[in-house]
Symmetry: C2
Subunit: 338 residues, 2 copies
DNA sequence: AGCGGATATGTTAGCGTTAACATTCGGAGT
DNA sequence: ACTCCGAATGTTAACGCTAACATATCCGCT
């Protein structure tokens, strides 16, 4: 007995005593303050090692008012797109020395997003990235809590915040132009849900490409991103005679389309060419391997963190940025010359 | 001038003054302490509303020593399995009033996991879930930081921690028995990487089922979970005459196998039956739709949080638990009677 | 009236860190 | 030798909250 060396983890004062300095000097060593004699520094480091001291980041956050934690709000991180984006965000954030706190929403309505933002703001995050691919989510960004810097990913013209997104319109255009360049008369489209900004963008690009080429735009078929909805749209398409090219708004639905065509004896790409969107890892091994538009989710994640950190660190400047990542065409065997 | 009503967010003392009570009473209201007159409570609530007060969780964490944050360490959350598990964890944690801080590792080596654990421990998390599907990751759980409660998901016989996992052996057995019951003489296997516990378990189940039926076990083919590796293994298999049934260790590789068989003119399920593992959303729309073993990732996530919270809240009890989630067979069109 | 014991509130003292200011010390400059 | 300055260190006071203890206040009971 005697010494109060309980199981309590050591604090700065313990290290200070061990090293024979004041706790403030320990703090200086930890924060790499220049004005510390290197001999003192060594002594402190030794004491830290000996005691197994770890600085208490909570106490630090209380006084500095920076938690070095970023919040991420996303929708269904089970899907490849959101999962990849969040992954990119997390990697970039950690690289910059920030923790990442995640909130995955089940349904992404305005209330859900607002709640999530409040929740994160309460926790004291230094900034927030909202992966807001739906219009309703983007709208929720209007009322942000208490000046927490925020960036929207895929957020369209979201409220008053910076946005990082993939150029969906351009992607839709690329897919369509690729098919037209192969000699197809026109291109059908299976679109995503109407409240998704990405779906809108892809439709717009598709329509623009057709218009520019002076081709008629058939009525787009509605899907919900799921393979099943693609399958159902595919069955409709299979029964029509004049369909030779289809641009499907994502790879999962394209898989459903391929399945439907296979069942109906429609040969891809001999009779119909198909282009998807996303380039999920499976696409290369569909039957046939799918031509698709690749989105660089990793880049989106990285950029969103860059923009956010710029906003956090450069306190004053309130200019909202808008960063657009270009998609790219990955040509495989599901498309052929007419 | 005069009043110091700057842009500074209000603190408890401000609310207290506004309501004409002490800050402690405000604290009691916030923490739903019973001994507060309902009239006082109302007055405090009103003041909170009026000032737009939000309690500072960092300060709270400093004094209570509980951050109400859980850490999650995972490997490549881009993959469907990990992504789904993490999603389940996050939902369950938030439901229980905890924040979730995520660290996604690129390569899951022992050092990576150790670093991640340190990192989270520094941040002051109340508990940690490690999604440790690789042996090397599970080993890193041996040296845990400073008594932070920890649960391993898919962690095998991980060090000294509780484990929640899917019964991989049983899954492998189910897949194999299903094929044998359809009249196949034996079942080939395309396995996952050897340092993955899940891969091992599935191999073991497959082997056990064959042994029990007194059938010869062919040498398993090696894969790395990717569709490409499945494709390559599939090409080998396609060139052999006596292959009529294949159990593939995950759905992505199974997709590659189907692709290879299609290319080689091998009909599934007429000539060869194929069973996968995971039941990813795409499997139902492969050509043909894939028979597979479903893992309930959501349940795994939920259970891991339950176990972890039990460990956090019931401080004393150190019994490590082991919770096994059963898989289930999803029968589709890629398997047929011999 | 007086007392015990809930019930409601206030006061004080930290939690472990950094910021701000105070102090000491060793030289360079005159 | 003396001043002055900057480098190195120490001391004190927050940060915003909860825990623990202290102080009313009210009620029923003898």
């Amino acid at each position: 007995m005697g010494a109060t060396q309980g199981r309590r983890p050591p604090v700065m004062a313990d290290v200070a005593k061990e090293a024979g300095v004041s706790h403030q000097t320990v703090s200086r060593v930890l924060n790499e303050h220049p004005n510390v004699r290197s001999e003192t520094r060594a002594r402190v480091m030794e004491a830290i090692d000996k005691l197994g001291y770890r600085r208490n980041l909570v106490a630090r956050a209380l006084v500095t008012k920076h938690s070095r934690t970023l919040g991420v709000v996303s929708f269904d991180t089970t899907l490849y797109g959101p999962a990849s984006t969040v992954y990119g965000i997390e990697q970039a954030a950690r690289g910059a020395g920030y923790f990442v706190s995640i909130v995955s929403l089940k349904s992404i309505d305005k209330i859900g997003v607002s709640d999530a933002l409040d929740y994160l703001a309460d926790q004291g995050v230094d900034g927030i990235v909202v992966v807001a691919p739906q219009r309703s989510a983007a709208q929720a960004l209007g009322e942000l809590p208490f000046g927490v810097p925020t960036v929207a990913v895929e957020g369209g013209e979201a409220g008053d915040v910076s946005v990082v997104c993939v150029d969906q319109v351009r992607g839709g255009r690329m897919a369509t132009e690729h098919l037209l360049s192969l000699g197809h008369e026109t291109v059908w489209h299976i679109r995503g849900p109407s409240d998704w900004l990405e779906a809108e963008g892809r439709v717009a690009g598709w329509r623009a490409a057709l218009e520019q080429a002076g081709r008629p735009a058939p009525e787009p078929l509605a899907g919900d991103w799921s393979p099943r909805s693609g399958y159902e749209a595919g069955r409709s398409l299979a029964s029509m005679k004049d369909v030779t090219a289809v641009f499907v708004a994502n790879d999962q639905m394209a898989l459903g389309v391929l399945r439907a065509f296979t069942e109906q004896g429609v040969k891809v790409p001999d009779q119909v060419s198909v282009v998807g969107f996303d380039d999920i890892p499976e696409s290369e091994f569909f039957s046939p391997p799918l031509t698709t538009i690749r989105q660089d989710f990793g880049a989106v994640g990285r950029h969103s963190i860059e923009v956010l950190l710029r906003q956090i660190e450069g306190q004053g400047s309130h200019e909202r940025e808008r960063l657009v990542v270009p998609p790219s065409l990955v040509s495989r065997a599901s498309t052929a010359r007419r």
